[in-house]
């Protein structure tokens, strides 16, 4: 909705924004595709081709969250406008608004997350075959897709992290409830109690450290904008779900069989946190980028270290008479170095 408010034409706002805000309809964002490595959005290849006064769409999309909802009437589709050619790999994609009952659209199935289908919301697997929409359905204009999703994803990534902090905090409460159960029926045996108390303490430490990492990114976004905060956002994105999975899993273990079934929200919280490590690009991609960026950022300071190391070796070698002394068969006492 924020994106329509920010980038939509008056007509687009009229048609979609009002019913969305009133909660009468929902939308789904069709971005991820099953046949490409989606961690890099430039790979997206759903075809959006100008044909007279229309655009014609052909492609395959999945993990379109919200597509399972009966009230979902709007698809926001990201694809390549292949008629325009651009040198810039970030200038080839466009975003188009599509009515969900347009001919050529098939919703094949809902994808599960571990065993959860997340009904009625749902994560759709959808194909578009010669789906025809009026040219006025494009948002901002051809080739401006990245502009739109970047404005949308930055803060959205912090949203995931924020919600996941909440999930971990809730799991810690459940763990404390179980370990210190008043009724004592389920209290762990005395000997293991120390282990559980340790889990509670570690979880508190880890949650709070992760929360500050998110707050730090939020402050940076507020003060300097999402683009300047890419580093801080990535740090929160990697740290938070790792932390949460650990905390939630401890709570599951503390609960035993009740911790994996429908009697507690714990297994569902776990599954939700698990996909956060994947959805906005897998951890490994964030870590590679962050590692490279840190290496560049700290370049000056670190070269100094290697110079020190060389100098230190030279100093130690000269202290031992490098170039002069001939080995005499005995041990060189450390004090002489």
């Amino acid at each position: 909705m924020e994106f329509l408010e920010k980038y939509g034409t008056e007509a687009q706002k009229q048609q979609w924004l009002v019913p969305l805000l009133e909660g009468r309809i929902r939308s789904a964002f069709l971005m991820t595709e099953p046949d490409i490595a989606s961690s890099d959005a430039r790979n997206i290849r759903c075809d959006i081709r100008r044909d007279g006064d229309d655009y014609v769409l052909n492609g395959s999309k999945w993990w379109s969250s919200g597509a399972g909802d009966p009230t979902c009437e709007l698809y926001i589709v990201m694809g390549q406008t292949t008629n325009t050619s651009s040198e810039n790999p970030y200038g080839r994609h466009s975003v188009v608004l599509v009515l969900t009952n347009t001919p050529g659209i098939t919703v094949h199935r809902m994808l599960s997350v571990y065993g959860y289908d997340d009904a009625p919301y749902g994560h759709g697997h959808i194909t578009l075959k010669n789906v025809r929409v009026p040219a006025s359905s494009i948002v901002l204009g051809e080739g401006r897709g990245f502009e739109i999703i970047q404005g949308r994803l930055g803060p959205g990534r912090i949203h995931h992290a924020m919600r996941t902090i909440g999930a971990a905090e809730s799991a810690l409460e459940w763990m404390i409830a179980r370990v210190n159960d008043e009724k004592k029926a389920f209290r762990p045996s005395h000997s293991a109690h120390g282990t559980f108390q340790e889990w509670i303490a570690k979880s508190r430490i880890e949650i709070d450290a992760a929360r500050m990492t998110v707050l730090n990114a939020a402050v940076k976004i507020d003060q300097e904008g999402a683009k300047a905060a890419l580093r801080e956002i990535a740090m929160a994105q990697v740290l938070v779900p790792h932390m949460a999975l650990q905390v939630i899993d401890r709570a599951v273990q503390a609960f035993g069989a009740a911790g994996v079934c429908q009697d507690t929200p714990l297994p569902g919280l776990w599954a939700s946190a698990r996909i956060i490590r994947i959805v906005d690009g897998p951890d490994e991609v964030h870590l590679q980028q962050l590692g490279r960026r840190e290496s560049q950022r700290m370049g000056e300071a670190v070269q100094e270290k290697l110079r020190w190391q060389s100098a230190e070796t030279d100093r130690l070698l000269s202290l031992s008479g490098f170039g002069a002394a001939v080995f005499s068969g005995g041990y060189i006492p450390k004090a002489n170095l």
Copy 2:
């Protein structure tokens, strides 16, 4: 089935063993209860009371696996025979065979494992209210419940570990398939490839180490029996699911979104491995017992260590002139100690 073959009367075998072996019916074991800490089977309190020529059962059971299957016709119920009193806490429980359509039995629901209902098999939540069965339904006799379940659980615990090794091995194959995909569409970016190769190597090392731990327990069971192998069984029970969860989770992450949904068996394998850390008693209980047992087993050898430590301190103190030297303001060179 093994347990009926081993402990059942001729009549019991006739009635149940034949159709079970022919696959016409299935059975479910009603052991775990929702209101007690089930890691210690002595806590089981389902009431089995002699009444004339019958036994009358009252209690609540859950995680009765197989109870969801339409062909399930036999419940094997563990409970306390409260009419007989025994000093021995291992002599109060009995096992009774119950037809699933006996009046008083209610199957309330199937329990989910991370969203999976494991249909048609299912993990039942069942209550028994004044369920009446003929006295001939008891197995082995009153107070012999522990004898039966111990004969059954020992090797059964190795079964879990064996299957879980298989799950991890399968996950490793999936991970290798993805990371080295011929089509290269999903191949991770060059920079992260090293990380994934490392995951494959670590997984291979961990799987094989765990497999040998299981084999070691199996050999011990074969040679000296399940009771003598309690230590080795516990070691396998703790190590294997931990290892498998790690390996499977790496495979999930290597697959990205396809790794958490129904397109691969990975999320299901993960959920199955996760409950292994709970079902035969949580890790923490095994670890406490194992730790205590190791401390006792190694008692002699270790006291020697502390004597060495004392002697070493004495030696060092005497070398520095303990009892005579007065501090002279200078540093005592290490060489003099």
Copy 3:
């Protein structure tokens, strides 16, 4: 020094504070004892007995840091004033100032940390045998030892954490220097490069999260005092050395053989960080206390969780017709629960 400035008499300040501030002499704090569990200072049993106008000290101390320095002229000794009896276990200890060349003092040896003797500073193992000092040497008065060390330890514990953050930051710089060495001689093979970049990224995330945990404790100390910040101090004490050991060890591994020897400061940084997990009480003690405190603090909120769990079970049971339905042999579809 801070402690003398805060608690010392005019005469004590005159004698010690001036030369200490001018750097002419150093002091060592004699607190830890070899024969007790020092994680609880109430165990300290060095005997301080009033005898006429003197105090007479008898006891054994170790890990007296700074005692190896030739300029160390002052021992600050914590012990029990056994002549006064107190109901309060925190009211039995006193602090006394002792000249290092007083008869009866023996410095036996310096203790090593891994292979480092930390010369010339040194960690002394010292005995006091009938060491006699004038009664005016006592600080604040008999029984006020805990008052003094608590004023001293609180912020001091943050000092350790702060320095350890610095050590980790330095190790990260060394790691980046090596992994991105200009000369490329030591650059890791292409395939492992991804692993090292990941280490850099993880280290950056972990250092920053730990740094904020320390800052959070520092702000709390500034705003509400050390006593109110016990929880936040403990969180920093546990998290920081764990983080630093991990980061430093990655740097060691990235350097290979140069990372464990005298050519880099890395092995020394590691050893220094390692003792932080012990010196102000081992992690395990902090974690137990923190776990207990969290359980109490969150008590209200969490009981709500268990009520929810019960209610949820009831709801699910009633949905499946609890109390009425008799099992009909078929599988109860999830939708009906």
Copy 4:
């Protein structure tokens, strides 16, 4: 010594083998060099040049273990015989026997390992400047260096792993001694006791799993030779020191301050285990090789997996009416998939 017995001429054996076996002299292997990435021995560039009836050596070596011993009289030097050219990168290196008091040799210093100088043994940093030896000093012949070190290193790598298993086993004994100390003075508080018992149990599990990994490699070496066992050797090399460092560190922590100083062997055991992760090539190199090898070895089996995945997706898509059904606005129930 084994290598001389295997590859030496009669004269070489006469000169060196007898005094070595009688323990009158020691030898040091000069292989690693400070200016190259030593994880790949092909990088070794110490120059060995034929000059008339002599060889002349120039180069720099470090981590020459044993070079600090006063009885060390023999250097076994690996270098490139640059006069002979070979296409084969494994055919350029040779091994030469050198008397330690030959002119041109300088032993500059001993390298420390976490502060330990390992005196009197020592790890030498040595340069060779126009060191001249008779041509008869070469072992086996020019270009046969790899043949010699491969024969030597294979089983030697298992030796490291075997010794490290012993170190871990010893650390576990120390930990048990402390945690269950008869005198109870240092017994951890009741609440943390569970944590320590858990450490003992985990350590036992990990040591035994690692031991079986070593035994597995040993059996393979015995049955099929060191070359056929490269995979199993690498698995032991990676797993064992990781395991040992963890076990030893737990013992250190259980001991507190006594665990890091000279009163127990624990800190020394830790330092010795730490370099095992580096000396025969860093973990990361082994893991990359192992990962690549596993990917190849399991290639057939795994492609099957991806075919299954594709087929599964097709099946699921066809079940939902792919190609026919038009989205009807409602949620597609899971049961229909």
